[in-house]
């Protein structure tokens, strides 16, 4: 007698199927209507590429997109670099095990609290709000991921490889670049992808810390949402879904080598 009843099996399968339906129905509806020639709430009229044309010629959108890209790339780069440097310190015997706990806070506190405290700090120190402050805020988020993940992987590495390298005559710097980093590379790439996406999609930090000069993609979409419905956003969703799928594919191909999950 099979312990798991057929009923339980079907129930499980139904639940899973409905969950995926729940996840994708809105997106599919959105995509379908991105080709509708009349804006919502009109029902389906005719097929058109018009909204995609408008999307690609919308100046403010691309500026917002460019800003978000700059911020995401910068914060990813800075947090990965900072993480790598910290690892270097660890390879030279620096005891950072305890200091690591310092970085857990970034993910534990709600993003609103982080944004609010940063805003207070910036206005107190009269730091002008803009791209630099946003990059800083996103880097903080990034560090919360990068440091714990990379250090965990670092601890799993076989240290005899380091010793062997040093014994064979390499300087600590050479060891770092030719042994440690290559071993950590898959983790660093997957973590970098994770941080990039989190920064690119981030909304709360941009809302508080952007000031009026830096417009990010999230803020732009928010202003469009607040002022009504435009099919250009549908077209944008389609494009971003394609982009996101590409990134996830890369992420998956590296996943097996990093045991991220």
């Amino acid at each position: 007698m099979k312990p798991i009843t057929a009923l339980a099996r079907t129930a499980n399968l139904t639940l899973v199927a409905s969950t995926y339906l729940f996840l994708y129905v809105p997106l599919i509806v959105l995509l379908v209507f991105s080709f509708n020639s009349t804006p919502f709430p009109a029902p389906w009229t005719s097929f058109t590429w018009r909204w995609y044309h408008e999307l690609f010629s919308s100046g403010p959108l691309w500026e917002a997109f460019r800003n978000s890209l700059i911020i995401a790339l910068s914060s990813t780069f800075i947090s990965i670099t900072a993480g790598a440097l910290l690892i270097f310190y660890a390879t030279q015997g620096g005891r950072i095990g305890k200091a690591l706990v310092l970085f857990y806070g970034n993910l534990i506190i709600p993003e609103v609290v982080l944004a609010v405290s940063l805003l207070g700090f910036f206005s107190l120190a009269s730091i002008p709000l803009g791209l630099a402050t946003l990059i800083l805020a996103h880097t903080l988020l990034g560090l919360g991921f990068v440091i714990p993940l990379i250090y965990a992987r670092f601890q799993e590495l076989d240290h005899r490889l380091h010793e062997a390298s040093l014994v064979l005559g390499a300087t600590p710097l050479q060891t770092f670049f030719k042994v440690t980093l290559p071993l950590l590379r898959p983790t660093m790439i997957t973590t970098a992808l994770l941080v990039f996406i989190i920064s690119f999609d981030d909304f709360v930090l941009s809302y508080f810390c952007a000031g009026s000069s830096a417009q990010t993609l999230s803020l732009y979409i928010l202003s469009m949402l607040r002022s009504g419905i435009s099919p250009i956003v549908n077209a944008l969703t389609a494009i971003l879904l394609i982009l996101s799928s590409a990134l996830v594919l890369i992420f998956f191909s590296l996943r097996s080598r990093t045991k991220l999950f």
Binding site: F40, P41, S126, I127, P128, G130, A132, T133, L136, S212, S213, S223, R226, S227, G228, I229
Partner: protein, 358 residues
């Protein structure tokens, strides 16, 4: 060298690097080319095609920065001591506040060619009695966007009762999401058009009214008028005229209703911050903006009433707009401004939280 000293130096070094990158934008002078002006304005007030044709005709580049509330403008200008911008567009009460902080420079009327075209009812108002610092650019009036189909065959009071009278309302409305606007609308309804700053008892009554209203509010939003009306979510939406005019162009069953008891207007003005040195270029820009074609274009794109009065050459000006634009001084005198005498900010925000937490 001692280990601790060394570490301290390293830490200082990295701190300075970080802080330098943060303060960088402030230290570095924003040297745009000489032949350009920086305009700090609302997101939806200058038509991009007009800016483009201005740039083409004169060769002067226009850099636009946006804000979405007068408070943002005030905070920014106070922080930078009016530096960095050549033209700003504050609302009526913001002009008063900016004058008090002495952040504006007086206008040279000899450089302005369109003075005779301006609507006289918009000039010499209490916030700038001689118009020494500001020129009205556009204005709008608060009222309701109403779904004609919903009220067909029914009574449609042209009154604040449409959003406040619990005995009349059996539908959902779209309400403004600003505590100041909401309390002043409530005061208008409760105490009539001559209402003064609310005392403690009146504050309680206002809070009570707004709390009651909460039951039939579908959405609190400043910007979703067209969406709410077009999707027939709400038959009545409180909004300013520009939004409703834009909606009326998209959606045929919307009508603009002005409450008869009295209502509010807001006037956007052009001002030059004190520290600007590019006045000549700014005056040329202003003269361009007030040309007939430009004003007409602005109205047709954004729905703001213009400050110029010669609208006979405008294509397709609908009669209701024309009537409002050519208001007599007496009619105009009945309108009130918002923010004439605000309650303390903390009190207002607390009130708003109370209203929304039921």
């Amino acid at each position: 060298m001692h280990k601790i000293t060394f570490r301290f130096l390293i830490i200082t070094f990295w701190c300075s690097v970080l802080l330098l990158t943060l303060y960088g934008p402030k230290i570095r002078q924003k040297d745009f080319q000489e032949n350009s002006i920086t305009v700090f304005t609302w997101g939806d007030i200058f038509d991009p095609s007009i800016i483009e044709s201005f740039e083409k005709e004169t060769g002067i580049r226009v850099h636009l920065n946006y804000y979405s509330a007068n408070e943002e403008l005030l905070v920014k200008l106070k922080a930078t001591k009016a530096e960095g911008y050549d033209l700003i567009v504050p609302s009526d009460y913001a002009v008063r506040l900016l004058r008090r902080e002495q952040l504006l420079q007086p206008l040279d009327k000899s450089k302005i060619h369109f003075w005779k075209d301006l609507n006289p009812v918009l000039l010499n108002l209490p916030y700038d009695t001689k118009n020494a610092f500001s020129i009205p650019f556009s204005w709008e009036i608060f009222g309701f966007g109403v779904d004609k189909d919903y009220f067909a065959g029914h009574e449609l009071p042209e009154s604040w009762r449409l959003i406040f009278d619990k005995n009349f309302i059996n539908y959902r409305i779209g309400m403004v999401n600003d505590p100041i606007d909401a309390t002043e609308f409530a005061s208008m309804y409760l105490y009539g058009p001559q209402f003064k700053k609310a005392n403690l008892q009146q504050q309680k009554e206002i809070t009570h009214l707004l709390k009651e209203q909460h039951k039939w509010v579908e959405v609190y939003a400043n910007f979703r008028t067209d969406y709410l009306l077009a999707t027939k979510n709400c038959p009545v939406v409180v909004s300013s005229s520009s939004y409703i005019w834009r909606t009326m162009r998209l959606v045929p069953f919307v009508r603009f209703v002005i409450p008869k008891e009295g209502t509010f207007i807001t006037i956007e003005n052009l001002c030059i911050p004190k520290a600007s040195k590019k006045q000549d270029l700014v005056y040329r820009f202003m003269n361009y903006l007030y040309r007939t074609e430009s004003s007409a274009k602005h109205f047709s794109t954004f729905g703001f009433f213009p400050s110029t009065i010669h609208t006979d050459q405008w294509p397709d000006l609908d009669p209701m707009a024309s009537k409002l634009i050519h208001a007599t001084p007496e009619e105009f005198g009945h309108y009130r401004f918002l923010h004439e005498d605000d309650l303390p900010e903390a009190t207002l925000r607390n009130l708003w939280v109370e209203v929304k937490t039921q």
